[in-house]
């Protein structure tokens, strides 16, 4: 029998499967400056994100603990990898761009300065074809932005 899951490779790219299975940043930070929880009441996915700032206010480190699907764990991990070293303002802009990409497949009007980090997040663009899964990809970002903004909780609803 041919692998009829082939057409799912746009959603479950090797990068996603890899980061979903072996996330590099799935850990609680020993010391942190901000944290927030995110949950998706529709599906029960939960995540907690911790952030440590550098002296210049950029994100020095971030980690997370998540219970959720491969998409949500991989997205959290790629997010952590991408935002380390970025300012809060950059991270907010990147979130907006990522959200558009997750919903539409691309971010056509995005600032050129976001091209490099967006490319790293590109493996998640496939979720736009699965409307019920978009929130899986954005949950970690909602939690991160809540932590940056000083809120304690976020929801992807």
């Amino acid at each position: 029998m041919s692998d009829s899951f082939d057409d799912l490779r746009d959603l479950y790219q090797e990068v996603i499967l890899d980061h979903g299975r072996r996330p590099r940043h799935a850990r609680r930070l020993e010391s942190f400056d901000a944290s927030a929880k995110g949950d998706n009441p529709m599906c029960g996915d939960r995540i907690e994100v911790w952030v440590k700032y550098a002296l210049d206010g950029t994100i020095a480190d971030t980690g997370f603990q998540a219970r959720g699907c491969a998409i949500s764990v991989a997205s959290a991990d790629l997010m952590a990898e991408t935002v380390i070293g970025r300012s809060k303002a950059d991270t907010h802009a990147l979130f907006d761009a990522f959200r558009e990409m997750a919903r539409t497949g691309s971010c056509r009007h995005c600032d050129a300065s976001l091209a490099e980090p967006l490319e790293r997040l590109e493996p998640l663009a496939g979720v736009h074809e699965y409307p019920s899964r978009v929130k899986c990809a954005t949950l970690a970002w909602h939690a991160l932005v809540a932590a940056l903004d000083g809120s304690k909780e976020a929801s992807s609803e």
Partner: protein
């Protein structure tokens, strides 16, 4: 391995021909609909009945003095007779139409909980309830001080009868509100025993029959229960109509639920009086077309017969437990002896949502998540499971296809 247990009574091919939607292809593959516990598909008889009513005899019910209204009233009230016969109710007036089971349970929490139960009394539910049989009682507790007690369940996913009885020992329990069949575990609760124990301690019993009535004949006299709720759309009928059956003297003693037209006897600004049951609980224009559709659904189910349905589904469950249980990495949740047509499971390598997305690509519709039963999931240390649920149109081949597909999903996530 279960060939010998296949029922001779139910001709699945003929049943499937009654459901137009099953001819659909999904992503180029035949639709394998294993999500009937969420909402079942509709036979042509239901579709035709509702369309026919709209095309030939539609009007508002109960107050029109014209031919259309009289015809429609007759058709709508015939649904009440059909429900009364389905449940073996003594009196058609004991059948109250609601929107769904959620509304039936909220009606109970409102009218029985606030009108009959007293602060300091308690309501007992079980550890395997749908949120709709938890939240209304929490709201009642917080509003009126009616205690909420939760009867424990065993690791096998069955009601712990000793634990249940212990909750009733102090005589303060006024009502037991419990699922008749778990939407997650498939467990049938031992309804007759529950009623005997509850009545012995002075408590009335309400069953949430949303799942149970689909798979088995429900006889409220044989169960000896006091209230029973079910919904149309899981019983191959339309959405928007549910049922609360209750014993006449109990319904008579309850205050109204929603206020408005249809539920009154007389109205002045100073004082209004209520219509007799069931209309006391049926404010506003009722779900007319949905009632007509429900009647058609009940007639359809009765024409197949619960003996055939139960035999068919027992065979499906046995087959599913054997086939899914044999797939490496699949863990089935719940091992109740007495169970109906739902199987919840998890896969070691993939989250339930990923499983559901991959199965969808094979044309298989399953549910994934907490199934509106978060406390139950936490009882088993889970956040979510995938759930396959079966209906009269489900085939053994579909279960084989699910099992084979699950093995391939696991391979995908290796």
């Amino acid at each position: 391995m279960n060939v010998t247990t296949r029922p001779a009574l139910l001709d699945v091919a003929r049943v499937r021909a009654d459901f137009p939607i099953l001819e659909q292809r999904i992503r180029g593959k035949p639709l394998v609909f294993l999500d009937s516990a969420a909402s079942a598909q509709k036979p042509r008889a239901v579709i035709d009945a509702m369309r026919g009513a709209m095309e030939t005899q539609y009007a508002n019910v109960h107050r029109g003095l014209h031919w259309m209204s009289e015809r429609t009233t007759d058709a709508y009230e015939a649904a009440r007779d059909a429900v009364a016969a389905l449940l073996n109710a003594r009196d058609r007036h004991e059948v109250v139409f609601t929107r769904n089971v959620t509304e039936s349970l909220n009606l109970m929490a409102h009218s029985y909980g606030r009108g009959v139960l007293k602060p300091g009394q308690a309501v007992v539910i079980s550890g395997m309830e749908h949120h709709s049989n938890i939240i209304p009682w929490q709201l009642l507790r917080d509003d009126r001080g009616v205690e909420l007690r939760v009867a424990p369940i065993t690791d096998a996913g069955e009601l712990d009868m000793d634990g249940f009885e212990a909750l009733l020992a102090d005589g303060r329990v006024g009502l037991v509100s419990m699922t008749h069949m778990s939407n997650v575990l498939g467990t049938y609760t031992p309804a007759e025993r529950i009623v005997r124990v509850a009545h012995a301690h002075g408590a009335k019993v309400l069953f949430d029959g949303a799942q149970a009535v689909v798979h088995r004949r429900v006889d409220v006299q044989a169960l000896d229960c006091d209230f029973y709720a079910f919904t149309g759309h899981k019983l191959y009928g339309p959405t928007g109509i549910g049922v609360l059956w209750g014993r006449r003297e109990l319904l008579d003693a309850m205050p109204p639920f929603l206020g408005g037209g249809e539920m009154i006897s007389s109205v002045t600004y100073e004082r209004s009086t209520w219509a007799e049951v069931p209309h006391k609980f049926e404010a506003g224009t009722p779900p007319i077309l949905e009632g007509i559709g429900l009647k058609a659904a009940i007639d359809y189910v009765q024409s197949i017969g619960y003996d055939a349905i139960a035999a068919h589904e027992t065979a499906l469950i046995d087959h599913a437990l054997a086939r899914l249980g044999a797939v490496e990495g699949v863990q089935i949740l719940g091992r109740a002896q007495d169970r109906g047509g739902v199987v919840s499971f998890s896969l070691d390598r993939a989250h339930a949502h990923d499983v559901a997305t991959l199965l969808d690509r094979q044309g298989i519709a399953v549910r994934a998540g907490h199934h509106c039963a978060e406390p139950l999931m936490h009882r088993f240390g889970l956040d979510s499971t995938a759930r396959a649920s079966f209906a009269i149109y489900t085939t053994h081949d579909e279960i084989d296809y699910l099992a084979d597909s699950l093995a391939r999903v696991r391979e995908f996530f290796r």
